[in-house]
């Protein structure tokens, strides 16, 4: 990986150069992590103006969370993630295959790439605010649907579980399918073209080539995309928070894990926030391990950073 170099006398510079990173990480991540874990074992919250605790309660916070909130909000998060991820990966695969197919003449290739990536850069909170106004009962979407005669009266998107979840999923899809397309394009472009040429000589159809060559060869990138998207999905917050004004409505069916963490932090329930953080830490730790394995895996395929395929 690194070239051999005899510079023993320079070793201290290595430490000096990496010191800011590690000092910052230690202060702003390690200390908070330890403090978070410590808090998770205490009963420590605000009740009105009174502060309860901190009293040592062992694993009580963990048990309380696992009994009710955790499975429920994990399920919400998962449902909204999968509703967005499935179309995201399917559309991205198809688009990437088209964009990289040299025999296909797609006009305005660059224009399409630019446009489909655009939503990824939009401020998620403003995007959510926009969707809230657009899909509200008297908003433009309903006004268009009613005027076109598709529905007789406005659809109350935010009063149904499916409506709200679907809008969250739609936004996640829009924000991430362009990103995934571009990453998969890079992966497909890395496949040896002679494989396609040989397949073509043997009379393979487009779909045969896609399923028998492209798909198996980009499997590592696909699993990478899925894991990083899962990590992103786990962090889902901005969009449902703003769409539902932090309530996770209707009836807390769109409340995500981070929204729950946010509400515990806002109300200064340190015990519960701590226990929830530790659960999240464990889940993301497992996912991080997979990413680590994939990145350090010294395979033949180019392993560039393919980060951020979120939700």
């Amino acid at each position: 990986m690194k070239k051999k170099q005899k510079s023993v006398s320079y070793a201290k510079w290595g430490y000096i150069f990496i010191a800011p990173f590690f000092i910052t990480f230690f202060i702003f991540s390690c200390i908070p992590l330890v403090d978070t874990i410590r808090n998770s074992f205490y009963e420590y919250y605000n009740s009105g103006l009174k502060v309860i605790g901190p009293n040592w309660v062992g694993f009580q916070n963990y048990l309380a969370l696992a009994a009710s909130d955790l499975p429920k909000y994990m399920w919400n998060t998962f449902v909204m993630w999968i509703l967005g991820f499935v179309p995201q990966i399917v559309v991205a695969l198809v688009l990437a295959a088209w964009f990289t197919d040299e025999r296909m003449r797609i006009h305005g290739r660059q224009f399409f790439k630019v446009v489909i990536y655009l939503p990824n850069l939009i401020m998620a909170s403003a995007f959510a605010m926009l969707f809230f106004t657009l899909f509200s009962n008297g908003g433009p979407v309903n006004s268009i649907l009613v005027n076109a005669g598709i529905v007789s009266e406005p659809i109350r998107f935010f009063e149904t579980t499916f409506g709200t979840r679907a809008i969250v999923a739609l936004m996640n899809f829009m924000m991430w399918f362009g990103n995934t397309t571009i990453m998969l394009m890079a992966a497909i472009a890395g496949i040896n073209p002679s494989l396609f040429e040989a397949a073509q000589l043997d009379g393979c159809t487009h779909s045969q080539m896609f399923f028998k060559i492209t798909l198996p060869l980009i499997k590592p990138i696909l699993s990478y995309t899925m894991i990083t998207s899962l990590i992103g999905g786990l962090q889902m917050f901005d969009v449902p928070q703003i769409l539902t004004n932090g309530q996770g409505g209707p009836n807390r069916t769109t409340m995500t894990l981070i929204m729950l963490l946010n509400s515990h932090l806002k109300s200064k329930n340190y015990g519960m926030a701590g226990a929830l953080s530790v659960y999240l830490f464990i889940i993301s730790g497992i996912l991080c391990f997979f990413v680590y394995r994939m990145m350090m895996d010294d395979g033949s395929k180019p392993k560039k950073a393919k980060k951020g395929a979120k939700a």
């Binding site: 070239k3 170099q5 070793a11 290595g14 000096i16 150069f17 990496i18 800011p20 990173f21 590690f22 910052t24 702003f28 991540s29 908070p32 992590l33 403090d35 808090n39 025999r103 296909m104 003449r105 797609i106 006009h107 224009f111 399409f112 850069l121 939009i122 401020m123 909170s125 403003a126 995007f127 605010m129 926009l130 969707f131 809230f132 106004t133 006004s143 268009i144 399918f177 571009i182 990453m183 487009h206 990590i231 917050f237 928070q241 004004n245 981070i258 963490l261 932090l265 340190y270 953080s277 530790v278 830490f281 991080c288 391990f289 680590y292 350090m296 560039k304 950073a305 980060k307 951020g308």
Partner: protein, 280 residues
């Protein structure tokens, strides 16, 4: 040998691409149209053409005392610019430290950063809030800027870039010429890293500009808030009583600058995604 592609497939591809592009652009189109219309016009229903109220809405937004958007823009600019500068400089510095020097903990340090590459920052938010409160840094912009010195994903991007584009013999040569280690980094390495720095600066700027979770927890004073927090306050209980023209205009103020930057730099950004991707 060069079989003509089936035109049906091309037609389908174009139709799908046009539909997806329409989906991506339509909502922004409505946003722009609606931010130019008055509240009364908006209440009457959707219109495909812009109204004449653009400047009045903009003026109303800029003069709104309850949502200090000008402060928000300034705060967001301060934070995002500082983060972009700090992230790229220190990530390059860290990557260079591990790339160019052999020392005992080199491998361990690299392994450690790779292990935390995609760790969400939210898991330590509780301790982070308590820490910065203890340090007296809560309700200020510092906690949004300083921690970005340690950005594993940008580090990894810089490290990969160095492996492909930075020759160690160049560093040797600069040493022979009598350059100090920091001098070599600042005068030789950084200029070589310019393309990587540009890509990551754009992404971290945008990521920081859009960041909502931590700033919303850290900052409580209105005039210190960044744009995403101000946008979120629109969604308060009094949403129904708002002047909708103003609401659309505020969203536009938060979104349009990024769209403009993106369109100007789209070529570099789209190419950069495949290289390193975005990570907020």
């Amino acid at each position: 040998m060069n079989k003509k592609p089936t035109p049906i497939r091309e037609i389908v591809a174009h139709i799908v691409l046009i539909i997806l592009s329409f989906l991506c652009l339509f909502f922004f189109y409505i946003l722009i149209i609606n931010s130019s219309r008055t509240h009364v016009e908006l209440m009457k229903g959707f219109a495909a053409l812009p109204g004449g109220n653009l400047m009045i809405n903009l003026k109303n937004v800029l003069n709104d005392a309850t949502i200090p958007i000008v402060n928000g823009i300034i705060n967001s600019l301060i934070v995002s610019t500082s983060v972009a500068a700090i992230v790229t400089y220190f990530s390059a510095l860290t990557a260079y430290g591990l790339y160019a020097y052999r020392f005992r903990l080199n491998k361990a340090a690299f392994t450690f950063i790779m292990a935390i590459l995609v760790m969400p920052t939210q898991v330590t938010a509780l301790g982070f809030l308590r820490l910065i409160t203890g340090m007296g840094m809560n309700d200020s912009l510092w906690p949004l800027i300083i921690p970005s010195i340690a950005s594993p994903s940008v580090f990894y991007f810089m490290h990969s870039y160095m492996q492909s584009s930075l020759s160690l013999s160049l560093i040797e040569a600069s040493r022979i010429d009598g350059s100090g280690e920091f001098g070599t980094f600042n005068k030789i390495v950084l200029p070589i890293m310019r393309p990587a720095i540009a890509v990551q600066a754009i992404f971290t700027f945008v990521g920081s500009w859009n960041n909502y979770f931590v700033p919303a927890l850290v900052i409580s004073t209105k005039t210190k808030q960044t744009l995403p927090i101000l946008i979120a306050t629109l969604r308060g209980a009094d949403f129904m009583t708002q002047d909708m023209g103003k609401v659309y205009m505020m969203i536009a103020v938060a979104i349009v600058p990024i769209i403009v930057i993106y369109l100007l730099l789209s070529k570099y950004i789209v190419d950069g995604v495949a290289l390193g991707g975005v990570k907020e």
